[in-house]
């Protein structure tokens, strides 16, 4: 307890620590937001809750890591992971997801849970259970007498994440396929009547989600580390963000992603790093409860 109070005191004594925590949180949150946006896309368009989301992220990380091990430049990992994970996502869609779209919601949850277990274990068998990372070899920038350190690698990561997000937004807004995806999300049957091949749209959306996650993973392996069993924690965060922001609300997803990144860093600072995972899950429960109370207020009865 004393330690917790001491940690909180530290925040007021040295306000610059706050800045560091918020900066770290935004960097983490930008990547969470990417995975969450993919989830919101799949959830909104085909009503599939993908619990394997985090494992797509980790797989992308391993694609990039494997490339670097074979002598390719690390920054190439991001586009390659995008393409490779696109392919893997398409195969998974054809084998599993296409058969659970029409079913009840629990089916997709459980099927993707099974997928998550499989993917984590295959990664474990292929690459071993050690944590892996890619060192870009860039400098670290220092501000405020060394109180705040910003590795250039992280800056590049955030920039790439923003570029990717911007690319996806422009694609969804202006391209023909983006229009078709949005139309299908609004009303799949009406879209079908208007001549949109919804099956194709579903396959495309799921592959796109997988590719976004893969690229996010390739960034994560450059700035932090990956491990076969870290997937579930990214899945949980993606769920927290989407549940908090709602579907089809892209600015909301980004804001929630950044906010959760920052909250988690604060929690880790105050309670200790051991509680980081617990804090992410508690946030999920908190968001669900708040939503529940909001809805309860909307419920109307005759008196």
């Amino acid at each position: 307890m004393d330690q917790i109070l001491g940690n909180i005191g530290l925040l007021f004594e040295f306000p610059v620590v706050n800045l560091k925590i918020v900066l770290d949180g935004i960097m983490v949150g930008a990547l969470f937001a990417l995975a969450a946006y993919g989830l919101a896309l799949v959830w909104g368009v085909m009503n599939v809750k993908n619990l394997a989301q985090g494992d797509f992220v980790i797989s992308g990380g391993y694609v990039s890591w494997w490339l670097v091990q074979h002598g390719f430049p690390p920054l190439l990992g991001v586009p390659v992971a995008f393409v490779v994970m696109w392919g893997i996502g398409w195969v998974i869609y054809k084998l599993v997801i296409s058969r659970v779209i029409e079913r009840d919601l629990f089916t997709s949850l459980l099927a993707t849970f099974g997928l998550a277990i499989m993917m984590a274990q295959i990664l474990n068998l292929l690459f071993g259970s050690d944590t892996q990372s890619v060192d870009l070899g860039y400098d670290v920038l220092y501000f405020f007498d060394g109180f705040i350190d910003v590795p250039i690698a992280k800056l590049i990561g955030v920039l790439m994440a923003s570029a990717l997000a911007a690319g996806v937004i422009i694609f969804m807004k202006s391209s023909r396929m983006g229009q078709a995806i949005r139309a299908t999300a609004q009303d799949a049957r009406a879209a079908r009547v208007m001549g949109i091949d919804t099956e194709k749209v579903y396959a495309f959306t799921f592959s796109l989600n997988s590719a976004i996650c893969g690229a996010a993973g390739a960034i994560i392996v450059m700035v932090w580390l990956v491990q076969p069993f870290y997937g579930i924690s990214y899945s949980i965060r993606a769920f927290v963000i989407v549940t908090a922001a709602g579907l089809g609300n892209l600015p909301g997803v980004i804001a929630a992603g950044l906010g959760i990144g920052a909250l988690e860093q604060y929690g880790a600072h105050i309670f200790g790093i051991g509680y980081q995972q617990a804090i992410a899950v508690m946030l999920l429960l908190l968001v669900l409860l708040v939503r529940l109370i909001q809805q309860r207020r909307n419920r109307q009865v005759l008196k």
């Binding site: 009840d104 629990f106 849970f113 099974g114 068998l125 051991g274």
Partner: protein, 345 residues
């Protein structure tokens, strides 16, 4: 009850008694089989019969483990000293202390889990469909993470309980019969329950909650009672597991979300959701599959298991019982008019 049914039940009961002596090498596996049957049957109470798919029933298993261990230790020693391995103290339990702690611990675990089920259920039963599943999964994961940071109960190291005082083989048979007793009681209990008005009410909630509400069923109360009953048995099973395993730690053995937590759901789906025998059949099939892959597919067993989950959920969701019901409806007392059946084909 028909004559063959009585014979069937008598045969199963006889097998239950003979099995540990007939196959002494498989004592632990057989005990685990009863554990799987117990958790599958209790999962089906909410998941199959009431339509609330929980992914967090493992929470009660882990909590049951901890409560049983803490009660049995706390009756004799100070828990904080006991779990503090650095103290280096030697803690001995007499036979009376061991068995007293075991039985009180197990009962306490069941009761405590029932109460927590009501509390958590009150907060989460407003969530519908997948949100309920995610919410309960969150509860289980959060509990595991919090307990592994709680030093008073041993933190990430977990707790080591005393070893069974008799010899090893007697201990195995003792725990087998404990698990078997719980499994048989659960089966008898749910068989009785599904025949009552209560069973009809929870089925009504599954079929259409709004209508059930409108017909005057106090849905929240029914949901809480059902979950509390399921939690009672899961907590007891967890308590027995704690003593059987001797040493357990929070993330891998107590709150094992991706192991037992998901296995119980797969057992039910494999056997057939919402049927009496489905969870039992599913648990047996799943346990066989698991033991075989663990022995012969070493390294790939988890991949095989994940594949089994995906295949079951995607292609074979009605389960064995659902498939049988479709193929042989007369076994279930459903009469199909020949003409209608022919016309349908």
């Amino acid at each position: 009850m028909a004559k063959n049914k009585i014979i069937l039940y008598a045969l199963i009961l006889a097998f239950t008694f003979v099995a540990p002596f007939a196959f002494p090498n498989f004592g632990t596996q057989l005990a685990t089989l009863w554990l799987m049957i117990t958790v599958a049957l209790t999962w089906d109470m909410t998941g199959g019969q009431m339509g609330y798919n929980s992914l967090g029933n493992i929470f009660f298993y882990g909590t049951g483990m901890y409560v049983a261990a803490l009660i049995s230790i706390g009756m004799v020693y100070d828990v904080g000293d006991y779990t503090n391995a650095a103290g280096g103290g030697i803690y001995k339990f007499t036979d009376a202390q061991y068995f007293g702690g075991l039985f009180l611990g197990i009962i306490g675990a069941g009761l405590f889990c029932s109460v927590t089920a009501v509390v958590i259920g009150y907060l989460t039963f407003g969530l519908r469909g997948p949100y309920f599943a995610i919410g309960t999964l969150g509860v289980a994961i959060a509990a595991g993470e919090l307990v592994s940071n709680w030093d008073w109960v041993g933190g990430g190291q977990g707790i080591a309980l005393p070893v069974y005082p008799g010899d090893l083989d007697t201990g195995k048979i003792f725990f087998y019969f404990l698990f078997a007793a719980v499994g048989v009681s659960v089966f008898i209990f749910v068989k009785w329950l599904y025949g009552t008005r209560f069973g009809a009410a929870i089925n009504a909630i599954r079929d259409d909650e709004e209508k059930a509400d409108a017909m005057g069923i106090h849905t929240l109360r029914y949901k809480l009672y059902t979950w509390a009953m399921a939690a009672f048995f899961v907590g007891i099973a967890g308590g027995i597991s704690a003593f059987q395993l001797i040493h357990f730690e929070p993330l891998e053995s107590a709150y094992q979300t991706i192991n037992l937590g998901i296995f119980m759901v797969v057992c039910v789906l494999l056997g057939g959701k919402g049927t009496l025998w489905g969870p039992v059949v599913g648990a047996i099939l799943f346990h066989l599959f698991k033991e075989i892959t663990w022995n012969y597919l070493l390294g790939w067993q988890w991949v095989a298991l994940g594949a089994l989950i995906v295949v079951t959920v995607v292609y074979f969701q009605d389960g064995v019982m659902g498939w049988l019901m479709h193929k042989r409806p007369e076994w279930f007392g459903i009469r199909v008019e020949k003409k209608v059946a022919e016309a349908a084909e």
